[in-house]
């Protein structure tokens, strides 16, 4: 138990900085693309390991699988509206109701499975990490009283949409320049504005319309079948 | 030695005063094929769940269960998981993974079996069940029958000593159900596997059983060989809902009040009838009549396919329905009958042909008009209509006319369910709620997609009464079904669907007495004596008009 926690810490605080330093110094022509992909992948490992270590029971697995599968299926159902995706909102709602770990897994697993179905690309790790971390953040916020207000839901939705867009832009910019370039970053962020807007809008719409119904359903399942009571 | 020994077992769900199981005493021997039956809520599923430790619900338990003379609670977790296999009702819900081979291996992975052994056992099972051809398929690409077979196989790889099945065929079509029962029979006869099966479709299973256990209100009321159990049932009141689920031959024997050996199969029933009654030439009860104009539905030469380049599913459908009819459309899987229902409801659009509703082309109706008092479709899965937290809210969401809601609730007799959560109801109750929602739109035409699927005999009878009531008030009903017996007993007209069109139609007596294979058990049992009897009641009525031969009443 202790050993694996240590492993996570080592990964987060030693291996990742090490890769960054080695990457930057060794290959001084600044090939940050691959480095960033590897860093993002490694950053996900501690979350997976903690899930592994906890020995999740069948019902926990199923609830997270259901939430992930619905966000992917929902993405297909809303395909006619470009950029309009329920994934962030569903990961967040799962996070609010079932805790940070469930939030992270819902986001990350949604990213992995939708990419298995629709095709992997270099963006997979970024998507996995971003959606996961947004769900994780929601899990932390869900422990406070903040999320009972519509205003905070809207703020969360907008920030999450902008963050998602910005992180996805980082990889596009880096893959283009091989290094990070602020001018191009702003240009990319600028051209992606309509998408950023759609991400934020879809987050807000889904959160406002679905937070209550999904929340109620998750609560019911939690009470009726005693799921994830340890959170 | 008894494999299972249950001593004085009682069980209460939390916060319920009435015992769900009341001093059950039972022994199941090695290699027995036991059929457990009773109406829904009699405690049969609760009893099954007591036998599978991992699924036992919380509650107050007294008494004990011994498995191979060891208390069930004392088995090691590994032994408990592998020695007792459990197949549930819904084939879809039990499948855990996305690949057939992974599903087969799943239980063995959990038991910590090594790869080489898993490989061998999976190969063995796949061959026994004939799964090798779809071994590398995705589980989602299987048919319902294949899915349930996969569920059974993925339990059999764990080599259980006891196999428990809770209504495993209720979601399957009749052909898949027969195949599934045949495999169970084979497992029992060839491998000596002990089987405890809960079923409400007893026609086929009942005669196969070594022993039949009948439960009522948490108690065992009969526990004997099939024929003795059937005889014991005569002690029950004639109106006991349990009786509705029994095979036709037993019900007939029961109704006619004989005391000799009870016939269990169609063949025995036919022989028994010949021994006691004489052949009578009876003319068709009604002269066949075609529906008269004006038609509420008139479909002419309708063709449909899903893809532009796909095959036609519906090929030249002709269908005329008059007001107040109760039409049932029968036929095998994939013949296009459900698709036709969707065409009639306007959900799908035909690429050729005309459909008229009340004399006006279907496609000229606006959706708001069509689904607001003209036509309604009760889907196969009632939960597709359920969204609220209580049944009352479900109805209020449809209309604000409390008078209408009151009427519907009265018609369906569901006052006691109004405060319940829709997902806490039984399948039959959920269906009533869904039907209620649909009826609040006051449709003139009601379409039903396999409404009797998964219902026990008693719930079917109640459904029939509701539909009859609606029909009397002028509602036209069209039902797609696999349920031959139900359509023979309650419909005003039957139509046979095959290869994308209707190939024969008539009122039930003419329809079923004209069919040789695709007909009711009652007709198969009695056609050598009475040519036009298609329900048990009709046989009984004819028999009662004659003094029986070889009397020993």
């Amino acid at each position: 138990m202790k050993k694996k926690q240590l492993l996570s810490l080592i990964l987060l605080f030693i291996v990742i900085p090490l890769i960054l330093i080695v990457g930057v110094t060794l290959f001084n022509d600044g090939k940050y693309t691959i480095i960033s992909i590897i860093v993002v992948l490694i950053a996900c490992i501690p979350f997976f390991l903690s899930f592994e270590r906890r020995k999740p029971n069948a019902r926990e697995i199923l609830v997270i699988a259901v939430m992930s599968a619905i966000s992917v299926a929902g993405r297909a159902a809303f395909a006619w509206l470009p950029g309009f995706k329920p994934v962030t909102a569903f990961a967040a709602i799962t996070g609010f109701k079932l805790g940070p770990e469930a939030g992270f897994l819902t986001g990350a697993v949604s990213a992995i499975t939708s990419n298995i179905l629709f095709g992997q690309g270099p963006w997979t790790p970024f998507q996995m990490f971003t959606w996961g971390i947004l769900g994780y953040a929601a899990g932390l916020l869900g422990k406070t009283f903040l999320m009972n207000y519509k205003a905070t839901l809207i703020v969360y939705g907008i920030i999450a949409g902008v963050l998602f867009s910005l992180i996805m832009d980082i990889w596009t910019v880096m893959s283009y320049d091989g290094s990070f370039n602020w001018t191009r970053y702003f240009a990319a962020a600028g051209t992606a504005l309509p998408f950023t807007f759609m991400y934020a809008l879809s987050n807000v719409v889904f959160l406002l319309l679905m937070y209550k119904p999904i929340g109620d359903k998750l609560e019911r399942i939690k009470v009726k079948y005693g799921i994830m009571q340890h959170h | 030695m008894a494999l299972i020994k249950i001593n004085n077992l009682s069980f209460h769900y939390p916060q319920q005063r009435i015992a769900s199981l009341d001093t059950i005493n039972l022994q199941i021997e090695q290699g027995e094929f036991v059929v457990l039956c009773g109406t829904s809520g009699c405690g049969k599923s609760t009893l099954l769940k007591q036998l599978k430790r991992e699924l036992t619900p919380h509650g107050e338990i007294s008494g004990d269960i011994l498995f191979n003379d060891i208390p069930l609670a004392d088995l090691s977790p590994r032994q408990a998981a592998s020695a007792i296999g459990y197949v549930l009702q819904n084939p879809e819900n039990q499948i855990v993974t996305d690949q057939v081979w992974h599903e087969l291996a799943f239980g063995l992975e959990n038991l910590g079996v090594d790869s080489m052994t898993i490989r061998r056992r999976v190969a063995e099972m796949a061959s026994f069940f004939g799964i090798q051809n779809w071994f590398r398929k995705n589980t989602m690409d299987l048919s319902g029958g294949q899915k349930q077979l996969l569920n059974l196989a993925s339990i059999m790889v764990m080599q259980p000593e006891l196999l428990i099945l809770d209504e495993p065929t209720s979601q399957l079509d009749p052909i898949a159900a027969s195949e599934f029962i045949a495999i169970l029979h084979k497992l029992n006869k060839e491998l000596g596997l002990t089987i405890v099966l809960v079923e409400h479709r007893l026609e086929e299973v009942y005669p196969l059983a070594d022993r039949v256990i009948i439960m009522d209100q948490g108690r065992i009321i009969a526990n004997d060989t099939p024929s003795k159990a059937a005889a014991a049932l005569k002690q029950l009141s004639v109106h006991h809902p349990m009786l509705l689920g029994l095979p036709t031959s037993i019900r007939l024997h029961h109704t006619l009040g004989h005391n000799d050996e009870v016939p269990l199969t169609i063949r025995q029933g036919a022989q028994w009838l010949s021994q006691h009654y004489e052949a009578v030439d009876v003319l068709p009860i009604e002269v066949e009549k075609q529906p008269q104009e004006p038609f509420v539905i008139n479909a002419e030469d309708v063709w449909f396919r899903y893809d532009k380049n796909g095959e036609d599913i519906v090929r030249g459908l002709q269908l005329q329905v008059a007001e107040g009819e109760f039409l049932s459309i029968l036929g095998g899987n994939g013949t296009g009958k459900s698709t036709s229902l969707n065409l009639l409801s306007g959900l799908l659009k035909a690429h050729r042909g005309r459909i008229k509703l009340f004399g006006k082309a279907l496609k000229t109706y606006r959706a708001t008009e069509l689904y607001n008092g003209l036509i309604a479709l009760l889907p196969q899965d009632p939960t597709t209509l359920l969204v609220e937290k209580t049944v009352a809210l479900e109805f209020q969401q449809m209309t604000n006319q409390t008078e209408d809601i009151k009427q519907v609730v009265e018609l369906l007799q569901i006052e006691h369910l109004l405060t319940a959560h829709p997902y806490d109801l039984s399948g039959g109750e959920q269906q009533k709620v869904a039907l209620g929602k649909v009826l609040l739109k006051k449709p003139k035409i009601l379409l039903l997609d396999e409404p009797t699927k998964g219902l026990d005999g008693y719930s079917k009878k109640i459904l029939a009464a509701i539909l009859y009531d609606l029909q009397q008030h002028g509602t036209t009903i069209i039902m797609v079904t696999h349920d031959i017996e139900f359509s023979a007993a309650y419909c005003s007209r039957c139509a046979m669907f095959f290869d994308g069109q209707i190939v024969s139609e008539a009122e039930p007596v003419t329809f079923y007495s004209g069919n040789h294979f695709y007909t009711t058990a009652a007709h198969r049992m009695s056609r050598h004596l009475f040519t036009h009897t298609v329900t048990m009641e009709q046989i009984a009525a004819l028999c009662n008009t004659q003094h029986h031969v070889g009397v020993h009443r």
Binding site: A69, A73, S175, A188 | L55, G112, D114, I375, L385, Y423
Partner: protein, 314 residues
Amino acid sequence: MATAFHYSTVSMLVRTLVGDEMKSFYDYHPFVIFLYFFAVIGLTMFYMQPVLLIISFSASIILALFIDQTAFFKTAKWLVPFMFIAALINPLMTHDGELIILYVNHRPITVEAIVFGFAMSIMLLAVIFWFTSFNKLMSSDKFLYLFGKISPAVALLISVTMRLIPRFIHQITVIAHAQKTIGMDATSGSLWQRLRSLMRIISILISWALENAIETADSMKARGYGLKNRTTFHLFKFDRYDGIVTACISVLFLMQVMMSYLNWTHFDYYPTFTAIELNTPTILVVISYTILVCIPIIIEIQEALKWRSLKSTT
């Protein structure tokens, strides 16, 4: 614009995971396939040296053509013009470089920037093409097998999710139909009405899914899920050929890493192009890189020849 393509690619990219046309490399152990694409895609993203870029780019196209021609042309049809435009935009944004062609708004347009734009576009195209092949060769069960090596619990979670997705997509249509007949139509009305109806459908789906999931969880428990020492079963065997190819890929990949470390693969576009000399290091880099990226193509051709000779002898 930049973000535009990570999504639109998704729908355009290959959908079917199992291609019959490609038997040989497809049948290699998942680890071999993963290692190959890891090495090749990693190096492709890393190398900016034009010769190496062209090698990777050509090989990615050849492999994609071997695996699924129609899918390749479908992707290429819209992606190539897109990348062409992206390449032309670069000189408008970067004004570094020494070979100036003309001035626009008093800003220099340089040959270096133009060439760099094209180099970047070719690199990105190559990466996308490599991924189209990767998606075909790395079927979901192979991916899950590899993932299970990192985390069996998450791999199971993914497998369960993969099982549910198609089931839910189907159920969405079923619910949509049922809702339509009681007057809740998700395909007509204003945008807001459609959205509301769709949200309702998803809400119904969630109830249904969560309640049914409990039974799935029961089915897992009934089959002993949660016991200690769970094993993971798979259908993959690591045979001699897998070993040989793994060794080849590893050696060639390590060679590339070494040579990069020695700066043999270095190439600058700014302030002006590095000269490429025809010397031993360059030749070594080019030959070993060519062999590495062509491994599946070599296997494929070998396989085709073997089949032909088998057929002709019978």
